[in-house]
């Protein structure tokens, strides 16, 4: 995927993902402070706008950096800062690259997940977005072609999201709920899952 195609794909995916804003808000109201729906909506809108203003010939690394800055600026929440830091870490793996393929996507997602885990002092099983990112990165890594890799990543993220229901939240505001967090689905992990689904919906739309 080259720059123009990448920009359009990101824009279409984000237009799609904001349809999950109410679901994410509701999940976050139960476990956090309820601003995840707004973070996603404002962030997606800002990214779409920022990408429209990028000069021709922007590299994939520059595109992802622009996404990071726009997402962080749209809404200075903890989640926005973590995701933006993840995007910047991912963009470093795209240095000198002008075609994003499956393995580049896998590298990006893994670097983003590692960065968020480190910044958020969290690990798999703590019931955060990292729970969905890392299995998605594994699935992308193991994929044979773009569509198959994406399908596998979505399945892996979905399983991770369902699994978060039985976990106890260990980071962020949700950790204050302690045992009462068990049974509730993690909003951050769900956001990652919905984003991957949106990426697929947007790819299908582009092809048809």
């Amino acid at each position: 995927m080259h720059s123009t195609e990448l920009i359009e794909q990101i824009q279409r995916s984000l237009t799609e993902v904001v349809k999950s804003a109410d679901e994410l808000r509701d999940l976050d109201q139960a476990l956090g402070d309820g601003d995840l729906g707004i973070t996603i909506t404002l962030g997606a809108g800002a990214v779409i706008e920022a990408l429209a203003e990028l000069p021709d010939g922007a590299t994939p690394a520059e595109i992802s950096r622009a996404c990071a800055k726009a997402f962080a600026n749209a809404n200075p929440s903890t989640m926005a800062a973590l995701v933006a830091g993840g995007l910047l870490a991912g963009s470093k793996t795209w240095k000198d690259l002008d075609n994003v393929d499956l393995s580049a996507a896998a590298r990006f997602v893994r670097a983003a997940g590692d960065n968020i885990a480190q910044r958020g002092k969290t690990q798999i099983g703590d019931k955060t977005i990292v729970d969905a990112i890392m299995p998605a990165a594994d699935a992308l890594d193991a994929g044979e072609d773009g569509a198959g890799g994406l399908d596998a990543a979505i399945a892996a993220a979905e399983k991770a999201v369902i699994d978060t229901r039985s976990l106890r939240s260990r980071r962020g505001r949700a950790a204050w709920l302690q045992e009462r967090s068990i049974g509730l689905q993690d909003p951050g992990a769900t956001a990652m899952w919905r984003f991957l689904e949106s990426w697929r919906t947007a790819s299908v739309a582009a092809r048809s």
Partner: protein, 333 residues
């Protein structure tokens, strides 16, 4: 709610506007965003820049310590909330003199995440950064979990020392080491007597019945470790100082700097009553007070209450503390 404000949403920007109008020779805002203040002479070529930041409502904390021998710039958030990563980054660019930038602020989640992201953005523009967070509030976590403690009034000692180190031309690594060393040797504990009214909502920052006190309170009204009937000044001071002496493991022959800080609505007279007791206790233990600071250094809008900070001294720390410094809110010659 009785406050001298116009529209609540304009409160922070109008406060900054006032500061800039009052001190145009000392401070400036480098771009279009009024939430970033830097020294009027920033950037200083070849010197390490120091950026701090945090929520409003704590004046003089954060923006009051931008000046010579102190911080180089500050990113300013809304009342009790973090500045954005972009604001932290803009402050970084505005103070970068080519020798790197130290981030020095209090240990609060939103500030940490936004400064970390600003560090990423700075790296993209080849500005080297390091981070040291104030974590002096002994009531917020036990000593074996000290890295998770909140940063409160004791941060001022780190500003003073790191600012002096940057001014004498230390490298970024050295300035960070100075800040870290002071943070490691500073301990603070506070007491709250009445809450603040948040300008945006008109709500109280916490509930505390008349006649009660909260020992170990945070500067946003975070609950402390003990709530009970208000005690006499000496008993309160004993509680605070005993905890600090134990935390810093002070012994006969040690030297300290003492900061008795008002939270916004406690008269200076009462702070001196406390200082008198601090002096009695430390003298009794053979601990010398080499420097003292008494007044409002880190407030919580109009919260009634006070905090006591101790910095354990050695010759290096004392020399850094005594180096010249000046800002519109802090003078030391």
């Amino acid at each position: 709610m009785k406050k001298i404000i116009n529209k609540p949403e304009d409160f922070v920007n109008e406060m900054i506007e006032g500061i800039l109008l009052a001190h145009p020779d000392k401070l400036k805002t480098p771009g279009d965003d009024p939430r970033i203040l830097v020294r009027a002479d920033a950037p200083v070529a070849g010197k390490v820049g120091i950026v701090t930041g945090g929520g409003s409502g704590h004046l003089p904390l954060f923006k009051g310590y931008v000046g010579h021998g102190l911080c180089s710039g500050v990113a300013i958030g809304n009342v009790f909330s973090s500045p954005s990563s972009q604001q932290c980054f803009e402050a970084t660019k505005a103070v970068s003199g080519g020798a790197g930038v130290l981030y020095l602020y209090g240990n609060y989640g939103g500030d940490v995440f936004n400064f970390d992201l600003a560090a990423d953005l700075a790296e993209l523009e080849d500005i080297e950064t390091r981070t040291v967070v104030g974590r002096d509030d002994v009531a917020s976590q036990p000593k074996d979990n000290r890295l998770e403690r909140r940063g409160v009034a004791g941060l001022i000692f780190a500003y003073k020392a790191a600012g002096a180190a940057a001014d004498r031309g230390d490298s970024l690594r050295e300035v960070a080491a100075v800040a870290e060393d002071v943070v490691d040797n500073t301990a603070t504990m506070g007491i709250g007597l009445s809450p603040t009214i948040l300008p945006t909502t008109g709500a109280l920052s916490f509930d505390l019945p008349d006649g009660e006190m909260e020992i170990g309170i945070g500067i946003h009204g975070e609950p402390g470790i003990h709530r009970g009937v208000l005690e006499p000044a000496d008993a309160i001071t004993d509680r605070l100082v005993d905890a600090l002496v134990e935390d810093l493991e002070l012994a006969d022959g040690d030297r300290v700097a003492v900061l008795v800080n008002g939270m916004g609505a406690t008269p200076l007279e009462e702070l001196y009553v406390m200082y008198r007791r601090v002096h009695q206790i430390l003298s009794g233990r053979g601990v010398a007070i080499s420097r003292n600071y008494i007044g409002e250094y880190a407030t919580s809008l109009e919260m009634a209450g006070a905090s006591i900070s101790l910095l354990k001294l050695n010759d290096d720390r004392l020399a850094l503390l005594d180096a010249p410094a000046s800002s519109p809110f802090f003078q030391e010659v």
